[in-house]
């Protein structure tokens, strides 16, 4: 069995009684951590237990409030009604269909946004002329809420997948490009000197130096942007779709079913958290840990 670097490191530290071994002379460099960035030192059981307790407390408060009759049921559904609504929505398969529809649009739109935004950011990060010409415009579009495009999106692409994907693309492309530009400009100059010394040029320089140098920052940006995309899809589907979680929210409101409103809100939140957890896994890649452990 080949020992992992962590094992070796710890073994080396553990075995170092002699005063001049590497480990004795080293500052306490952390071994490869398996926890995500910013993981708290709170033990695993509490990490699950504590939030569960909070959720139960909130549920209890909700139940008490709705049982007290202080608020009318049409504006404040009870936990039981919501649970029933959940059963109904999932039994009919509508819930799953809506989740799939929204996820599909977000995935395609976000992938397009990242696949074009990152190269665009790399190009602008490396070319000061192009940056001077385009940066103000990218900033303009980033500040323009993607939802403002909805009128054109529907006229150009009709109601449905295409217009929602377009909106997600507009929501993600600009922030990803900007984050990439910022990350490129913060690469220490010494990396480029070293790269030059060892003969990196052109494409190789881009793929083997610039890209890995910005990867930790890029992953953070992707995480933020993926969250943004999930927020935007709900708004986008409210007006421009016949299915999806945003449509379901609109539908529940029109049908005056506050219980279904809550069902969909809970699902939207949970799926959002799941997406975030998936993207955060990228920070566990061995070649990017340096960006989070320094």
């Amino acid at each position: 069995m080949i020992p992992s670097p962590t094992d070796l490191y710890q073994r080396d530290r553990a075995l170092s009684d002699a005063p001049l071994t590497d480990a004795a002379l080293s500052d306490a460099a952390p071994g490869p951590s398996t926890s995500p960035a910013n993981a708290s030192p709170v033990p695993m059981t509490s990490r699950i237990l504590l939030p569960t307790l909070v959720a139960l407390a909130a549920l209890a408060l909700w139940a008490v409030l709705s049982a007290s009759g202080l608020l009318p049921p049409y504006s404040f559904p009870s936990p039981l009604e919501v649970a029933q609504g959940f059963g109904l929505e999932s039994a009919q398969g509508r819930l799953l269909d809506n989740i799939i529809a929204s996820l599909f649009r977000v995935t395609v739109g976000f992938t397009l946004g990242a696949a074009l935004g990152v190269p665009c950011g790399l190009w602008l990060g490396n070319s000061s002329r192009a940056r001077a010409a385009l940066l103000p415009h990218i900033n303009f579009y980033r500040c323009l809420s993607p939802i403002a495009w909805i009128g054109f999106a529907i006229t150009w692409f009709d109601i449905g997948d295409k217009s929602a994907i377009f909106l997600i693309f507009m929501a993600t492309f600009f922030p990803i490009a900007l984050a990439t530009i910022a990350a490129v400009s913060s690469i220490p100059a010494v990396y480029f000197r070293v790269a030059r010394d060892y003969g990196f040029r052109g494409r190789e320089l881009l793929m083997q130096v610039t890209l890995p140098a910005i990867l930790p920052q890029l992953i953070t940006a992707l995480r933020v942007t993926a969250g943004l995309a999930w927020v935007v899809i709900v708004a986008a589907e409210m007006a421009g779709a016949q299915e999806g979680l945003g449509f379901a929210i609109m539908d529940a409101r029109n049908g005056q079913s506050p219980d279904l409103l809550v069902v969909n809100m809970i699902v939207i939140g949970l799926v959002g958290v799941t997406i975030d957890q998936l993207v955060v896994r990228l920070t566990l890649l061995p070649g990017v840990r340096w960006g989070y452990e320094r």
Binding site: D22, A29, R193, V194
Partner: protein
């Protein structure tokens, strides 16, 4: 690749005194008299700040030269001129052979492991088996066999420094430029790394230019110590040490050299 790289840069009156080497081919400015590096009448200014004025320095093949001098006097600038990264405002710089530099500030790629970083220095070797063999050899040389798969942030400062040196030693560069490679380390680690550098150079001799603030370090390692003055920097003293490496720090030759340099710099306390 042992072509003589002759690089001559624009002279003060705008007349080129040689041609700029680009492809690594020998040219009119190449060194013919056996020296590895030569600065001839070199001046370098940054705007109105005159760092060097008419500096001459010649470094022989296989020679270990230590450059000491006050902070900000131009030691890093001197290395940049020697490596060809920077160009003199006037005068000529000539170098015979490929140059590798170890930077004053962390120059390891943090996204590559220790092995990956060292392999940068072996990129020119086409055969994977040969690359692997040389990599293993270098890892053994710096005694980090067990740390090949570690990333720089998982290594101690001294270990990182050794990886940098191994990376610079990898391949067949003839000239090694080191910019205060040990200055960030504690005294014991420094002592140990001096020993390792001396040992590495015995196994693979190179021409070395070693910048340091540490007079003792210079005397411990160098064949010749060049002391620079305040800006505009001149060579205010040169000292040769004729003693095998690795050296004993308390050897009279070393101690005497330290004394003499402290004298020159006016840093020795007069006995009461």
């Amino acid at each position: 690749m042992n072509n003589a790289h002759g690089v001559a840069k624009k002279s003060g009156d705008g007349q080129a005194t040689g041609d700029s080497a680009t492809g690594g081919s020998a040219n009119g400015g190449s060194v013919s008299n056996g020296s590895a590096l030569r600065l001839a009448n070199v001046s370098r200014s940054f705007g109105t700040l005159e760092v060097f004025r008419g500096l001459d320095l010649e470094i022989g093949h296989g020679e270990f030269v230590a450059i000491v001098g006050p902070s900000g006097c131009g030691k890093t600038t001197l290395l940049n001129l020697l490596s060809g990264y920077d160009e003199p405002s006037s005068g000529t710089v000539t170098r015979a052979g490929a140059v590798r530099m170890v930077y004053q500030h962390d120059g390891l790629f943090p996204w590559l492991t220790a092995a990956g970083n060292i392999e940068l220095g072996l990129r020119h070797i086409a055969a994977a088996a040969e690359r692997k063999r040389q990599l293993d050899e270098l890892l053994t040389l710096i005694r980090l066999e067990n740390f090949a798969a570690h990333y720089p942030h998982q290594l101690s400062g001294g270990m990182r420094q050794r990886v940098e040196i191994a990376r610079a030693l990898a391949g067949d560069s003839d000239i090694l430029l080191l910019d205060e490679p040990f200055s960030a380390l504690d005294y014991l680690t420094r002592l140990r790394l001096r020993g390792e550098l001396a040992r590495l150079l015995r196994e693979r001799p190179r021409t070395v230019v070693f910048v340091t603030h540490d007079i003792e370090e210079a005397a411990h390692l160098a064949d010749r110590i060049v002391v620079l003055s305040e800006r505009p920097a001149r060579i205010c003293c040169e000292l040769r040490l004729d003693l095998e490496r690795p050296r004993d720090l308390t050897h009279p030759v070393v101690v005497d050299a330290v004394k003499r340099i402290l004298d020159v710099m006016g840093l020795r306390a007069a006995p009461a």
